[in-house]
């Protein structure tokens, strides 16, 4: 099939699957709601920016007035939905589901880029320490809120993630060149170091230990629309630019020297891909914690289905990753039952990271023994 047509049909199909999965997920829960009602409630929750206004805010501690952009949203649809159902779907379930979709989308996209970039089937979005950096930032914010004055857990995780990625890149770069192998090893070393830092902070985190551990396992509970507002623009912009570089990614698979001979500015492209993949990953990890295996397994599955061409692989992986994380998070959400004989905790939480790894690892092993995962 002609490639653009093939890309479009695969993407459209996976987008439809994603919508179905989202609606199905929103219908499930302690209160069962029929899918038609869910769909209507979901459409009611769709908003578009309608007005842009600026208000003035005074920064704490510094005392400087800064203009803050404020966006007014208006609903597009107004279907007749029972009030409690609208609240359950629109305010409780959908933010979490949409956030799961965004995080899955960004992690799978970043994983695809990293596997191609490193030409290594074991590469995942956090291979250069993005997740460790995010975890270090988040745990620091949880355990020592006084020392991390950023206020927001998301922001400190985001900054920790990007700071680590930049550090690894800077360490691995010498004389304008960044050898991929050095990058990989520097990432491993930094991850080990950050692991030690995180462990130290956990030991001294006292009552906050549980919150920190749950964050590190990856979770989507208590998600709000503001989390979506944080993650969505970064993901869309990042993946959007990455989609424009899919041809370079293909050529880079030939090796850096060949790519150079074929007109790719190798070092600049590498920096760009690495930066975008890191930003996209950081956005996902900052709101959802360290969710493993999505960025590793989903690209492999899609590669088996659509082939190695990034022009089709990247969009389809991202969409499949979104569906995958929505499904696994739904399982995590429904499985949040008290553990028999377990500690007496009011609202038990199953971090979604546990589900993705518990499902993803056996599936990956299955692919491995079937010899279907060889190389990128």
């Amino acid at each position: 099939m002609y490639r653009p047509v093939r890309t479009a049909s695969w993407s459209a199909g996976l987008a439809i699957v994603l919508v179905g999965v989202v609606i199905g997920s929103a219908a499930l829960g302690p209160v069962k709601i029929d899918p038609i009602t869910v769909a209507m409630a979901a459409l009611n929750a769709v908003v578009v920016p309608s007005e842009l206004s600026f208000s003035t805010a005074t920064l704490p501690r510094i005392g400087v007035d800064v203009p803050l952009p404020g966006v007014e949203y208006t609903s597009v649809f107004d279907f007749e939905v029972q009030g409690t159902h609208q609240t359950i779907v629109g305010d409780i379930r959908l933010p979490r589901i949409v956030l799961a979709a965004i995080v899955g989308f960004s992690l799978a996209a970043a994983g695809t880029v990293m596997q191609g970039f490193f030409r290594n089937p074991l590469a995942d979005p956090s291979i250069i320490g993005v997740s460790s950096g995010a975890a270090a930032g988040a745990v620091a914010a949880i355990a020592f809120p006084a020392l991390v004055p950023l206020g927001s857990l998301h922001l400190s995780a985001f900054i920790g993630a990007l700071g680590t990625a930049f550090l690894v890149y800077a360490i691995a770069t010498e004389g304008g060149r960044t050898p991929v192998a050095t990058l990989l090893l520097a990432g491993v070393a930094i991850q080990a170091f950050l692991g030690a830092m995180i462990s130290y902070m956990l030991v001294h985190s006292g009552d906050d230990l549980r919150e920190a551990v749950v964050w590190m396992m990856g979770h989507l509970h208590n998600s709000t629309w503001s989390d979506v507002q944080f993650a969505l623009p970064v993901t869309i912009a990042g993946v959007g630019i990455l989609l424009a570089y899919t041809r370079e990614m293909n050529v880079l698979l030939l090796g850096e020297e060949d790519a150079h001979h074929l007109g790719v500015d190798v070092e600049r492209t590498k920096l760009l891909l690495l930066a975008l993949a890191s930003v996209v990953t950081a956005a996902g990890v900052a709101v959802a914690g360290v969710i493993g295996f999505v960025g590793l397994v989903v690209p492999h599955i899609m590669r088996l289905l659509v082939g190695p061409d990034h022009r089709i692989l990247l969009p389809t992986s991202a969409l499949a990753g979104a569906s995958f994380l929505v499904i696994t998070d739904t399982i995590a959400r429904l499985g949040a039952i008290p553990i028999p004989f377990g500690p007496d905790i009011a609202t038990p939480i199953v971090p979604v990271g546990i589900i993705t790894a518990a499902l993803g690892a056996p599936f990956f092993l299955f692919l491995l023994t079937r010899r279907e995962v060889h190389a990128v």
Partner: protein, 547 residues
């Protein structure tokens, strides 16, 4: 046709350029003929015809750490020229290609393609000037062949456009020319090595650059694919591309390249047409191997046959046949110092057996060889010349003149051993009988060499007379000659002993004899090169040690 005419005009200008370069003294050779002839006007290509580029390497040096890889290399490749880089492993062929492609930056010097410094422009610009067929490409992923070829269009396409009709046509054309069109939809990791090489070549063709670099394009291919690939490259050159290729196989390089650049230890050792670059002395200098260069009877181009380094079966000194070494190593021969003179062996015959015997005898130090009579254009004569032996040449299809017969007799008489090969018996031609009679009359010892020892050569020669006769195949010729020499020396020790001194004097008297009989006998260099048939293999070396 206008396109074709333009190209010829360009060739004219290019020749002018070359002359300028010659006056600069950078590049003393430059063959710019032959190509363009094969362009039969079939310019139905999709894209605009490509104007071949000039590649200029100016005083480039490069070292990795303390290891100097290239040292002050300068060369100019003229538009439409096919230049082969030859030389031993580690001579810098690949490094030079990587410098030209822009993958490596020289420590000093610069490289321009059509006046553009390839290291000063971005990769997009340089990749529109020069395409590269690497020695091996990592293609472990399953892209369809067509997509791999399409990657060659990358530098010509804008970021957001899908391939244009022109792009598609160039890709189709590249697939067609490399005969990979039927593989277009197959995954690249499922095609054979030879096909893969053609796909990578197709990618470079699709890149539509005026210059193309190939690193060992035939290294992993079997013989028919080697030819196919080089035929195609030749075609590309004739269609208007400048091509540089590192080629390991000297025969193929000689056959397809307009010019060879022989590299040794990171420097240009010699540059010029294959016939000038490939010579026995160059090969022994650069490759440290004894080799013969002959003309391939079918292609008419140079063929290099490397011979193992001397084995030494005790016929003479080891290494260069200097007077000292001959003295040192001669102790085991009965007559002491006097007998350490080079033994002389004359080879009578033509054809593969004679050639093979000649080549094997030549690599034994301490043997002085003579050959003949042979027809000047025959392989044996050519092999002899490339080994530095001046053969006794005769005109074809004519019986021997008395002078020639005398010259022959002279040589057989001088020789300690005469090798007669089967060709002599089988030709049965004019004069054969008189030659054999001469051998029978004057030869000290005779070795009959046949491809197959059971053949009746021995009977033939034994019937002719009562000389001592040994038989051998080309493989065992050295042992047979050694045996013959031992006996021959016993029988004729006075003859050898009568020679006034080791090596030098023997040689000059032989040279004098040659000059008497053949007016074509030339300078002393070629005579002393007979002695120089040693591991060093270099005429000049032998000369300097002998004089």
């Amino acid at each position: 046709m206008t396109v074709f005419d333009n190209r010829n005009d360009d060739d004219g200008t290019a020749d002018g350029d070359r002359d300028e370069n010659n006056s600069d003294g950078h590049d003393t050779y430059g063959t710019h003929d032959a190509h363009g002839v094969a362009n039969d006007g079939t310019t139905d290509e999709a894209s605009d015809p490509i104007e071949p580029a000039t590649i200029a390497v100016e005083n480039c040096s490069l070292s990795f750490g303390d290891l100097s890889v290239l040292e002050d290399v300068s060369l100019t490749v003229e538009p439409g020229e096919f230049v082969g880089f030859v030389g031993p492993n580690g001579a810098g062929k690949t490094t030079l290609l990587r410098l030209i492609s822009g993958a490596l930056e020289p420590d000093s010097g610069r490289i321009t393609i059509d006046g553009v410094d390839v290291h000063a422009v971005d990769s997009r610009t340089s990749s529109r000037l020069v395409s590269v067929v690497p020695q091996d490409t990592t293609l472990s992923f399953s892209f369809p062949v067509r997509d791999v070829v399409e990657m060659g269009r990358h530098p010509h396409r804008s970021r957001f456009s899908s391939p244009t009709r022109a792009d598609q046509e160039v890709v189709d054309d590249a697939l067609e020319r490399t005969r990979t069109a039927e593989l277009a939809d197959r995954p690249i990791d499922e095609v054979s090595g030879g096909q893969r090489q053609r796909v990578v070549l197709a990618r470079a063709i699709a890149q539509a650059t005026p210059a193309m670099l190939l690193d060992e394009p035939t290294a992993s291919l079997d013989v028919n694919h080697q030819l196919e690939t080089l035929e195609l490259v030749r075609e590309l050159v004739d269609d208007g591309r400048t091509v540089c290729a590192a080629i390991h196989d000297l025969d193929l390089a000689a056959r397809y390249c307009d010019r060879l650049v022989m590299l040794a230890d990171g420097a240009v050792y010699r540059s010029g047409p294959p016939s000038e670059v490939l010579s026995g002395d160059a090969l022994s200098d650069v490759f440290d191997a004894t080799a013969t260069v002959t003309q391939n009877p079918i292609t008419g181009t140079e063929t290099v046959t490397a011979l193992p380094t001397p084995v030494g079966v005790g016929l003479g000194g080891e290494g260069p046949a200097t007077a000292e070494s001959a003295t040192e190593h001669g102790g085991d021969v009965e007559d002491g110092d006097a007998a350490t003179a080079d033994h002389r062996v004359h080879v009578l015959g033509t054809g593969p057996t004679a050639t093979s015997a000649l080549a094997r005898l030549e690599r034994e130090p301490g043997l002085a060889l003579s050959v003949g009579p042979v027809v000047a254009t025959e392989t044996t004569a050519e092999t002899a010349r490339s080994l530095g032996i001046e053969p006794l040449e005769v005109a074809p299809f004519e019986s021997l003149s008395p002078a020639e017969l005398t010259a022959f007799e002279e040589r057989v008489r001088d020789a300690n051993v005469t090798v007669v090969t089967e060709g002599v018996f089988e030709s049965g031609g004019m004069g054969t009988e008189s030659l054999l009679e001469t051998v029978d009359d004057v030869a000290d010892a005779v070795v009959v060499a046949t491809q197959d020892e059971d053949r009746d050569g021995k009977a033939a020669i034994a019937a002719a007379g009562d000389s001592a006769v040994w038989t051998a195949t080309p493989e065992t010729i050295l042992e047979a000659v050694a045996d013959a020499l031992e006996t021959g020396i016993d029988g004729q020790s006075t003859v050898i002993g009568a020679e006034p001194g080791p090596g030098l004097e023997t040689e000059s008297s032989a040279g004098a004899a040659e000059e008497e009989t053949r007016s074509t006998a030339t300078d002393g260099g070629s005579d002393s090169s007979v002695v120089g048939g040693s591991s060093s293999g270099s005429d000049s070396n032998s000369n300097s040690t002998l004089r």
